[in-house]
Symmetry: C2
Subunit: 333 residues, 2 copies
């Protein structure tokens, strides 16, 4: 969908958090991250070579990724000049901003004239089918969470890296904007029309080799009332053989909805498995991924050990300890 490799545009980012999409590309697809382009005053830095458009083109970059977010998801006027110049110099542009590139008349006109692509990863690029529920070949693993934003994408990408290291047959399947920008393809599930959600995930993870794993990026949570339907479509469309439970232990309520407490890992395990078994009777929960960023080393180790003994499942923070044990569990399926 998006031509690689990339030049990562960091604009006039006012801090490092504003360039986290670009950081995702650098961390998980370093081979796509040719260089960075920063405007005067930019406070983001990925430690990549700073390049002009000409230098990046010379180095082989095909697409300039808008790797910076600002309040409101607008296309900042101060970015326009360089975006237009990038189109002139042969780049496509890709963005996850709320304001669509294609709806900017100046960008759209130039891209049309030069036959460049403006890729808005928030917008479905495909007409997805209605899900059939037919049994597919190959294997699929889905990360499910006690809440939104507990590390489901990170967990799947860390598992993918470990599986590639072991020369396993694997693909990470992006279902959100950041994942799509990182990997260059996927389904922006949050924007898919209700009737086609599960079908879009079947389309994303089709029949494959018997030893192949799709690692499907999770979204939302069955327990998050704003987005639970999206999560259930992922489970039923994804037809998973393995589920990995994801959790952030210091959160006091569900993200964005203060009246709602997080469920226990036991409740997540039971409800997710019950739902998955509707579509795949052999589905198993194979491991637990905990985001311990808010804990000290000692607290993290204690917490992980406690969960592991309580749940009887390999329990790790893939950021601190790698995803090896989560992958070991998949190798046993």
């Amino acid at each position: 969908m998006i031509k690689t490799p990339y030049l990562l545009f960091l604009g006039d980012a006012h801090d490092q958090l504003a360039v986290k999409v670009a950081k995702g590309v650098r961390d998980w697809r370093p081979e796509y991250a040719i260089g960075q382009l920063r405007l005067p005053g930019c406070k983001g830095d990925l430690g990549l070579p700073d390049m002009t458009l000409d230098e990046a083109k010379e180095a082989g970059a095909e697409t300039m990724i808008i790797g910076v977010a600002n309040r409101g998801g607008l296309i900042s006027e101060s970015w326009k000049e360089i975006m237009l110049e990038a189109l002139d110099k042969g780049f496509d542009l890709a963005s996850g901003l709320h304001k669509l590139l294609r709806n900017d008349p100046v960008l759209a006109e130039k891209a049309g004239k030069l036959n460049r692509q403006l890729i808005d990863v928030r917008v479905p690029q495909h007409e997805y089918p209605i899900a059939t529920g037919e049994k597919r070949s190959g294997k699929r693993c889905l990360a499910v969470g006690t809440d939104c934003s507990v590390g489901k994408m990170y967990t799947a990408l860390a598992m993918e890296r470990e599986m590639k290291k072991r020369e396993m047959n694997v693909d990470f399947r992006a279902t959100g904007q950041t994942g799509i920008l990182i990997t260059g393809e996927g389904v922006p599930l949050d924007a898919v029309a209700a009737d086609f959600m599960a079908g879009s995930i079947e389309w994303l993870t089709p029949d494959n080799d018997d030893d192949h794993w799709d690692l499907i990026e999770g979204q939302g949570s069955l327990f998050h009332v704003s987005f639970s339907g999206v999560t259930l479509a992922l489970i039923h469309g994804g037809q998973p053989d393995a589920l990995v439970l994801c959790h952030e232990p210091t959160r006091e309520h569900m993200r964005g909805i203060p009246g709602y407490k997080l469920p226990s890992l036991e409740a997540l395990r039971d409800l997710s498995l019950e739902m998955a078994k509707i579509v795949n009777g052999n589905c198993k929960v194979t491991g637990i991924s905990i985001n311990t960023a808010a804990l000290s080393d000692e607290e993290a180790n204690e917490y992980l050990a406690e969960v592991e003994s309580r749940m009887g499942l390999p329990t790790v923070d893939p950021y601190r300890h790698g995803a090896g044990r989560l992958v070991d569990a998949l190798e046993e399926i």
Copy 2:
């Protein structure tokens, strides 16, 4: 959303099944159904007065409903002339066809010129919010099914009729095309973008009087892998106080997906209630609605008695026996 009352356009329908949307209007909103307009060769008949456009306008009709479906959901060329004439004579047009009225250049141009509305009920007419999960006043009842197309809409409409007869404070809330055409408003949930599904149902069923009931039209089934996410969004967005279980006892597999058996009513009860309690701890299953159309009177009575004694809940076919006992159960909440 749609101006009432209606003239029901039956076109050149080749059988009675092809006019079932119009029949829904006649059955459930007879006060909106001023008359029918049939083209030569029409095999559908609602038993309403046949009217010309002029007669219907004279009788007060505001909108001509395209109450006929054909293969592919196209706008038949043979309907065009009368549709254009209807616009000329002051009617709006409303349709649930797959092909949108607004995308027909001739219809769109005339409607624009005359300032008439072309209402395609398949298309969301509103920007819905993301669900907040905040506790709402008033009460809500949702029909959930072991499968798609087991009578959820019928059940809610029959309950609404009975509740109005008892002078209860009630609204039927449409979530599908037919329901929207019948009542003139609602949310076409199947076409809403994933992230806004639950929010659209919160929007549809806002805070209300303490004694008010919203009867929310159900969609899909938690057990139907193609559409389960839509159903879960209805449960979590709808925040129901009461659930009515719906079932068709002769179906051999889930609609459209032959590999999948229907769940038991017990499984439907348990999973639906578990899901509903995430958003409303006081939710109850209050009754069971069985579509016994395929059974004889005796078979139906036996089946209903067996289910009622097994499940311990009022069990009726509202078509055969009315919705009185389902409403009795709501009056006890």
